[in-house]
């Protein structure tokens, strides 16, 4: 049924339809509305049987999810930013133990400086944690991906992170097609654990493994993740047959058929990019975009196949590998190894910096002329940067960077319009 609602609410309702049995909740913006809504549903009995557990930290949230999942319960939690970092040790444990937990990450920057706005630094910091990572472009896709995530997680016995842009999606009211409980039940079978703590048939989960078998256990984790590359397209196809729409899959291409320039990006910025591409196509530019839905495992073959006909590839990412450049672009480059083409990394939208159509028009035209620096920071204020660099040269005790820059720009209240 079509509905105008908040992204967080839509995701909460979709998660509830997946019949989780344990939800561990610790509040952090911008995911809070999701677990709040689920908490209400558990309290008023709409979501039952389900145990909603308020925990004392994100580390506890993931630890409780590990326990409940190992006990055979379908388990869910959500977090963002510093919260994800605080649970990092347990995040690795969840995947290492092969527990099919589903977690929403409402993507937000990582401090310091503290910043509550959107970028992809949080989820991408956990890219090697052994979790599958899916990125939603719209609220519709965010809710659809959660339904697919439980199926995928439980089939592989691996945890799945569904990443959606904090605020931009979580707090946006837009049209979504809410599935029915019958549709979700038809798509998502009852959870049958591949391993489980059962007093009737006692086993232990979480043995210490020495050099004699550790490599093999890790290899199997990799091999298991790679199976997702086969499963996901068929799950997306089956999703289409039940729900009647395309959602999920490995990647999405848009107007790339004869494109000489292909942009690569993840998440909600794809919408803005598509609008720019439509306008540029009307003027005759041969440009298209590849959206990455599945970041882990990274669909190397699909990415290569989608990009190999282009003259140049521009990876626009809301993340950064300090001391190297991009994170997504490093992965894309690996997919393109041996191909001769121009490649550009564009860091954009960090900490909630708006990515505007106007800036993208300028950027994409520069790329078409091959006039971009290999590593470009979109809309970086060089005056601000240079002023601080000069200050540092002039005075050894030049003061904290963040405070200096805020003083320079005269910020009273942060704003982005």
């Amino acid at each position: 049924m079509l509905k105008q609602t908040e992204g967080s609410r839509a995701v909460a309702e979709a998660v509830a339809m997946c019949r989780p049995e344990v939800i561990c909740a610790y509040p952090i913006s911008p995911q809070t509305h999701i677990v709040e809504a689920l908490g209400e549903m558990v309290k008023d009995g709409t979501l039952s049987p389900c145990e909603f557990i308020n925990v004392e930290s994100e580390f506890a949230a993931m630890s409780v999810a590990i326990g409940s999942s190992a006990a055979g319960a379908r388990s869910y939690t959500a977090t963002a930013s510093q919260g994800l970092l605080f649970m990092a040790e347990a995040v690795y444990n969840a995947s290492g133990l092969g527990l099919p937990i589903v977690m929403t990450v409402a993507n937000r920057a990582i401090g310091a400086p503290i910043n509550i706005w959107n970028d992809h630094s949080d989820a991408l910091s956990q890219r090697d944690s052994g979790w599958l990572q899916l990125f939603a472009e719209t609220n519709q896709e965010a809710l659809d991906l959660h339904i697919q995530a439980f199926r995928l997680a439980e089939e592989l016995s691996l945890p799945v992170m569904v990443c959606m842009d904090g605020f931009i999606l979580t707090h946006a009211y837009e049209r979504v097609d809410m599935p029915t409980q019958a549709q979700v039940d038809a798509y998502l079978p009852k959870y049958v654990p591949r391993q489980m703590l059962d007093p009737g048939e006692p086993v232990s989960i979480g043995a210490m493994v020495g050099p004699e078998a550790f490599m093999e256990v890790r290899y199997l984790a990799h091999a298991k993740q790679m199976e997702a590359l086969e499963l996901i397209p068929s799950y997306a196809a089956e999703f289409k047959s039940v729900f009647g729409r395309d959602s999920g899959g490995l990647t999405h291409t848009y107007r790339t058929e004869d494109a000489e320039t292909i942009i690569v990006a993840m998440g909600s910025v794809l919408g803005t990019i598509k609008d720019v591409i439509d306008e540029m196509r009307e003027e005759g530019h041969k440009i298209g975009v590849l959206g990455i839905t599945l970041f882990r495992p990274f669909p190397l073959a699909r990415v290569r196949e989608s990009l190999q006909g282009a003259k140049r590839v521009v990876v626009l990412e809301k993340s950064m590998a300090v001391g190297l450049g991009g994170i997504l672009s490093t992965n894309v480059r690996m997919a393109l190894s041996g191909l001769h083409m121009h490649g550009y990394t564009v860091i954009a939208g960090l900490g909630g910096r708006a990515i505007t159509k106007k800036s993208l028009h300028g950027l994409f035209r520069q790329a078409e002329q091959d006039a971009l620096e290999p590593l470009t920071f979109l809309d970086l204020d060089w005056n601000m940067v240079n002023k601080q660099l000069e200050r540092e040269k002039a005075h050894r005790r030049s003061g904290p960077v963040a405070e200096n820059l805020l003083r320079d720009v005269g910020v009273v209240a942060a704003r982005n319009y």
């Binding site: 605020f167 931009i168 946006a172 009211y173 794809l270 919408g271 982005n416």
Partner: protein, 198 residues
């Protein structure tokens, strides 16, 4: 695409107003996208929310920098925030105040604008009268239905009834209807004046 930017202060229901606007547009079968300015909301701090309305899917995710209409829920913001940033000439402006544009010091700015698109409504008073709480957001939506003409008053009322219930819903509906009538009367007056000048 029609783009609305709402300025107010934390506690005045700025974000709720944008959301309800999007629900009203959805009820008319249109696509709509509402979102806040993503700040750390605090009571009294300047808050901005946005709403886009279109007949096709809205993919754009940038903040609204060139709005077609601006709703100002708190006139004290006029001296603190550049509320009119990006508004094109002859855009729609609706301000919560019992003063005129001239009295607010905006007369020169809008001298040769279409005056029937520049409206004020004492939304705070209407809210106190009908709802008993100083929350101007909903009456302003009634006024917005009149001034911009992109949404029917009945859709706004439907959105109010979806959001609130009981006395609060009834009071807000009454406030929205009165605001609508006030703004319609202002627009008629402005049109009359323009015909006289012409």
């Amino acid at each position: 695409m029609f783009q609305v930017r709402i300025h107010g202060r934390g506690g005045q229901g700025v974000v709720t107003a944008a959301e309800m606007l999007s629900v009203a547009a959805f009820d008319e079968g249109r696509h709509a996208q509402a979102f806040p300015s993503f700040g750390s909301e605090r009571m009294g701090a300047p808050v901005v929310a946005f709403c886009r309305i279109d007949d096709k899917e809205i993919r754009l995710r940038e903040p609204i920098m060139e709005p077609d209409a601006i709703i100002i829920q708190d006139p004290t913001l006029l001296h603190q925030v550049d509320v009119f940033a990006g508004l094109k000439k002859d855009g729609y402006i609706l301000i919560n105040t019992s003063k005129t544009f001239d009295q607010l010091g905006l007369g020169d700015m809008v001298r040769d604008w279409r005056h029937e698109r520049l409206c004020t409504v004492p939304a705070m008073e209407l809210a106190l009268k009908h709802v008993g709480r100083p929350v101007p957001n909903v009456p302003l939506l009634g006024g917005f239905a009149a001034v911009a003409g992109v949404l029917q008053l009945e859709s706004v009322i439907k959105a109010i009834n979806e959001r609130f219930s009981g006395k609060v819903a009834a009071g807000n509906v009454a406030a929205a209807r009165e605001a609508y009538a006030i703004v319609r009367a202002e627009m008629d007056e402005a049109r009359k004046k323009e015909t006289q000048h012409a």
